[in-house]
């Protein structure tokens, strides 16, 4: 299986230079995306078979990379699962791009990097030594950066690319330090050696912190998330989908690999760090999202939120593992992994939707959209499914993973340590809050974009998107529903992963009555997506049938009633900003120091009244702005050394000499 995966990666790597050569041909787009789709599909199947068959790990050593070491590659349950996630996203993205890519203005800036990006992500997942891992990791950042820069004439994109790559290499350096720590002074770089080394508690703790910084900055943990909402929207939509839905998962993989696999047994306080960060990330992410009216940026911020949810699961797993409650750990871990999968599904779906809207209208700003459900009904329907899924509403998949996380939280009172006793329920509250806010946010996003009346000509002129894109979205939507109603099968598929890393796995779900899922015991809690789905459809159709049959089915179109204020102007609709106003009032005043000021002209004055909203990104102002300021301050100060005179430079030399001689004199 590993060889197949590697071959597919190789094909993709070869495809990249080919794309450079072909870039200007008309058929290049179809060719590149077509081949990428096939390659990813094949390696998807390979990884899936490995995962489902719960096969034993496979190793390969290639004579490249660090010379005396070679490049170690390994396919175990964990990497297999993540390869499934990656390749599923990549496959659908390529399918989507078959249609979407035609509208690309500068294909030669995307085509060469796209397959390389996919290959890099796959290689990160199979890497089994520090060098190969970091090489692929940073290569992944580099290629995605190149695609972020593809529309480089827009200054924001250039800035986004800058922040992105700097943050990326910051993260890579942190991981590099982590591995340096685990590898020790004489450079035992293979993961096998690291596992064997059993690092001491201090080493493990440092490694955890560094891994949190490294992987966290890639995954978008608050406060390392700043690059994410800038970079993800800047790229072409199918790439945004990959970066948001899939690349962040590679970061999660990195965290899991280091903390659960390499860093030795966890200490109980690790989970406190992770949970605190994760809770903050969850709520901050969704609150940021609520304040956006750029569709793709809103989605990017939701990625931050979902990463938070995933890390909550991981943090709980750490806590349980540290206290030897392996069963609960397995539950939390599985919940996290399931959410990884789910999020990759609906986030890609939503970004595809955003891409379709972008091509149809040329707009990303929701305030200029509206009423698209009339013009692109299929897209609207598929996106609606995505919205319901990401809002964690039954019977779709988003709810299942959050439900499992809640179940894990309900197990945590048995945890002995006090810090956790207080932290975990609060994190649970944050999670619930985030879920509710997410629903609110997607009511806003969907309502303003697809419902109501078109706010601009562009929105009026929109047309349904092409069939490739629709197909890609349909696949994902179908999967969202499938995971929602038959979660048991997917949970069982995750069993080998959790038993490999936790040493325990959730009870087998297939065979529970009516395909329901029972995390602990039937008397304790259970959920049956299938039954709920069937019930809802039944009762809904029943009601419809009854009313239409027994009462009336007559219908008349008329102007909107609106309490008798008939106003044709679509400007009177609620905009995204106004929709978010109540929540902004409630949360924004603290979190964003939101200020609203109304200029109301005096009676008789015909000027329109104006409402100004002022938001502060406190995290940026508190952390990043000072860093930037400090750097430029230091740069300015040091820059004086460029303008010294020869004599002054000589003085420098002289002083150095004297200092060194003094050192000698004192040395003896």
């Amino acid at each position: 299986m590993l060889t197949i995966v590697l071959l597919c990666a190789a094909v993709l790597l070869v495809l990249a230079p080919l794309a450079v050569a072909l870039a200007h041909r008309a058929a290049a787009t179809q060719f590149v995306y077509g081949v990428s789709m096939i390659a990813t599909a094949i390696s998807l199947i390979a990884a899936l078979t490995h995962l489902v068959a719960a096969a034993s790990p496979e190793n390969i050593v290639l004579p490249i990379g660090v010379p005396w070491l070679g490049s170690h590659l390994r396919l175990d349950a964990l990497s297999a699962f993540f390869i499934v996630v990656i390749d599923l996203g990549a496959m659908t993205a390529s399918l989507f791009a078959l249609g979407y890519g035609r509208h690309e203005t500068a294909p030669e800036r995307v085509l060469p990097f796209y397959p390389a990006f996919l290959a890099a992500m796959t290689l990160v997942l199979v890497a089994d030594d520090a060098f190969t891992f970091l090489l692929s990791w940073e290569f992944m950042s580099l290629t995605s950066w190149a695609m972020v820069m593809s529309h480089h004439r827009v200054p924001e994109n250039v800035r986004a690319g800058y922040v992105y790559l700097v943050m990326a290499s910051f993260g890579t350096l942190a991981l590099l330090l982590a591995f340096g720590l685990l590898a020790g002074p004489d450079g035992l770089y293979t993961f096998a050696q690291m596992r064997a080394a059993h690092p001491s508690a201090v080493l493990g703790a440092l490694a955890l912190v560094l891994a949190l910084i490294g992987a966290g900055s890639k995954a978008g943990l608050v406060p390392l998330h700043v690059w994410l909402p800038l970079a993800h929207p800047a790229a072409p939509s199918h790439v945004s989908a990959l970066m948001s839905g899939v690349m962040t998962k590679v970061a999660v993989y990195g965290f899991v690999r280091i903390v659960f696999d390499l860093a030795g047994g966890p200490a109980w306080w690790w989970s406190i760090v992770v949970l605190a960060l994760a809770g903050a990330t969850t709520v901050m992410g969704v609150l940021y999202a609520l304040m956006q009216h750029d569709l793709k940026r809103l989605l990017a911020y939701h990625t931050v939120e979902n990463i938070g949810i995933i890390f909550i699961g991981l943090g709980l797993a750490l806590a349980f593992k540290a206290h030897g409650m392996l069963f609960a750990a397995a539950l939390a871990f599985t919940a996290a992994l399931l959410h990884v999968f789910n999020h990759s599904l609906f986030k890609s779906l939503l970004f595809f939707g955003a891409g379709a809207v972008l091509t149809a209208t040329g707009e990303r700003d929701m305030e200029h959209l509206g009423g698209l459900i009339h013009r692109m009904p299929r897209t609207a329907f598929l996106v609606l499914i995505g919205c319901v899924a990401i809002s964690a509403l039954p019977p779709l998949n988003g709810f299942v993973s959050e439900w499992l996380t809640f179940q894990a939280i309900l197990l945590s009172p048995q945890l002995p340590s006090w810090g956790l006793k207080l932290l975990v329920p609060s994190v649970g509250a944050l999670l619930a809050l985030a879920a509710a806010l997410a629903a609110a946010c997607f009511v806003k996003a969907y309502g303003v974009t697809f419902l109501g009346r078109p706010r601009t000509r562009a929105a009026e002129a929109a047309t349904e998107t092409d069939s490739y894109s629709l197909a890609a979205m349909f696949v994902l939507a179908a999967l969202c529903l499938l995971v929602g109603i038959l979660p048991g099968a997917f949970i069982d598929a995750l069993a080998p992963v959790s038993s490999a890393l936790i040493g325990e796995h959730m009870p087998t779900q297939i065979g529970a009555q009516w395909l329901s899922i029972v995390p602990i015991a039937a008397s304790r809690s259970s959920y049956d997506g299938l039954l709920v789905f069937v019930f809802m459809t039944l009762s809904g159709t029943l009601a419809a049938w009854a009313i239409h049959r027994l009462a009336s089915d007559r219908l008349r179109r008329a102007p909107a009633w609106d309490c008798g204020y008939p106003d044709a102007s679509p400007a009177t609709q609620y905009s995204a900003t106004s929709f978010a106003q109540p929540i902004r009032r409630v949360f924004g005043t603290i979190v964003f120091r939101a200020r609203e000021q109304v200029e109301m002209p005096p009676p008789g004055d015909t000027r329109p009244a104006r409402l100004k909203v002022e938001l502060h990104d406190l995290i940026w102002e508190a952390i990043y702005a000072p860093i930037a300021a400090g750097t430029s301050f230091a740069a300015d100060r040091l820059n004086r050394f460029q303008f010294l005179t020869i004599r002054q430079f000589l003085t420098l030399v002289f002083c150095t000499l004297i200092v060194l001689l003094l050192v000698l004199a004192i040395w003896s």
Binding site: F131, L135, H152, R153, Y162, L177, G180, T631, L660
Partner: protein, 484 residues
């Protein structure tokens, strides 16, 4: 003819060919011919240098070839070769636009060969006095070439280089004398007391105090040539104002040669246990240069000066690596040195063409290069990615080894190192973005650029980043062992 004899010939060839070529080039008037001859000469030199791999002559009292300087000789001759190819097209353009006169071009070519001669001499010299002479010769020739444009800035830069260089010369000489003094009681008077291969065998018996002082002076003297802060002042201006091929050679080779000299003496001290460990000094200067240069990168407006400072930064990293010592760090240092020479010269090739296309070196006047000159633009991006240590290019591997091996031994140093690298990366990327991307600005003329050298270098760097041939590895490891 015996193998040894062949080796001896090769050895002499490395010296004689440039010397002869220098004389010829000084004599020949025709530009095309001289340019070709220049390339031919460097090619022959390269061949001789390569043949040294297969047979090394026995060390004499003046010349020595071991794995250490073999690495450097091959690197030097190779970069010298590619640079001569590049300079053919570059100088041609300079002639057309009349920045250079035929006379100055003759002078330039002659000097180019003299420089090659001097550097090769410095590398194969077994006699520390000879080594000193050679390095000074190299310095003076580069001074000449930096001033070749006769513009006010060029003269200013040359003058600054000259004065600071001379002081460096003096300090280095004092150090050399001290080493002799240290050696004399043990080795005995006369030539032997200056023959490195003899010294290194007997160094354990030398007077440690003398060695200490000597090393301080050598560190400052040759460190000035390496461009370590705070002795770096000549370097940016010399790079910026001279002709680009010379900037490439300066960054790619001369700095290495000076560092090579330092390494030789470091090995001497390493043998003598009583002497102070040279490591800490080198580590300190290295980190200082790294961090200082990293911040200096932010305020650069001149593209060549920008990359000159990046050279300082990387010299800092290399010095740091050698200062740390140990098989991993030394290996990394050697690798980094090689990669930096190739990459930086490639970057300067690109920069030279960019400056010719845009007709300026001011960063603010060039923008959207990937639109106007895609090949050049992406080449530059690749080069900067390489120099910034992004995978899958070679410097990534060396930085990986340095940082990871250091962190386990001296965490704080590693943190400083990482900090410097990150700061520098931010600055480079900032400039790169404004040069390669955004709305195209500045002239969009085409140039008859010779992209071959640039992409040849980058290809090598890429290859080394992914796969290193075992021979090279064994050889590096051997040298790393020598460095202790």
């Amino acid at each position: 003819m015996t193998l040894d004899g062949m080796a001896m010939n090769a050895l002499l060839g490395v010296l004689v060919i440039p010397a002869v070529a220098a004389v010829l080039l000084a004599a020949l008037p025709n530009y095309r011919a001289t340019a070709r001859l220049n390339v031919v000469a460097t090619t022959l030199t390269l061949v001789c240098a390569l043949s040294l791999f297969f047979a090394k002559p026995a060390p004499g009292s003046y010349f020595l070839v071991d794995d250490l300087n073999n690495t450097f000789i091959v690197l030097t001759t190779f970069v010298g070769w590619t640079t001569s190819i590049f300079s053919a097209s570059y100088i041609g353009h300079e002639l057309e636009i009349g920045r250079l006169t035929p006379r100055s071009v003759r002078f330039y070519h002659a000097m180019y060969q003299v420089l090659m001669f001097a550097m090769n001499l410095a590398l194969i010299a077994n006699n520390i006095g000879l080594m000193w002479v050679a390095i000074e010769l190299a310095t003076l020739t580069t001074v000449m070439m930096v001033g070749i444009y006769r513009t006010h800035e060029a003269l200013e830069a040359a003058w600054k280089y000259f004065i600071l260089g001379s002081v460096g010369i003096a300090l280095a000489l004092f150090g050399t004398i001290l080493v002799y003094m240290a050696a004399r009681p043990v080795v005995g008077e006369g030539l032997n007391a200056m023959v490195w291969s003899v010294l290194v065998t007997r160094a354990s018996a030398f007077d440690p105090a003398l060695l200490d002082v000597a090393f301080v002076f050598l560190l400052l003297g040759y460190g000035t040539k390496v461009g370590l802060a705070p002795l770096h002042a000549w370097l940016p201006d010399a790079h910026a104002e001279g002709p680009t091929p010379i900037s490439a050679v300066l960054s790619g080779l001369l700095l290495n040669v000076a560092l090579y000299a330092l390494l030789r003496f470091k090995m001497l001290l390493a043998v003598n246990t009583a002497a102070l460990a040279p490591g800490p000094l080198m580590v300190a200067l290295g980190l200082l240069s790294l961090v200082f240069a990293a911040f200096m990168l932010y305020r650069r407006r001149d593209i060549k000066r920008l990359f000159a400072y990046s050279s300082i930064e990387h010299m800092g990293i290399i010095t740091f690596a050698f200062g740390m010592g140990g098989p991993l760090a030394n290996f990394a240092g050697l690798l980094h040195m090689t990669m930096h020479s190739l990459t930086k010269s490639a970057i300067f090739f690109a920069v030279g063409h960019v400056a010719q296309v845009k007709g300026t070196q001011r960063i603010s006047d060039m923008s959207g290069l990937t639109e106007t000159n895609p090949v050049l633009g992406w080449g530059l991006i690749l080069g900067v990615a390489a120099i910034a240590g992004l995978p899958p290019l070679g410097i990534f591997m060396s930085e990986f080894l340095v940082v990871s091996s250091t962190f386990a031994r001296a965490p704080l140093l590693a943190l400083v190192l990482v900090f410097g690298i990150l700061v520098a990366f931010g600055a480079l990327l900032l400039r790169l973005n404004s040069i390669a991307f955004g709305e195209p600005r500045g002239a969009v003329g085409k140039t008859q650029a010779s992209y071959v050298p640039m992409f040849a270098h980058l290809a090598l760097v890429l290859a080394a980043g992914i796969y290193m041939p075992p021979a090279l590895v064994a050889w590096f490891q051997n040298v790393a062992g020598l460095l202790g």
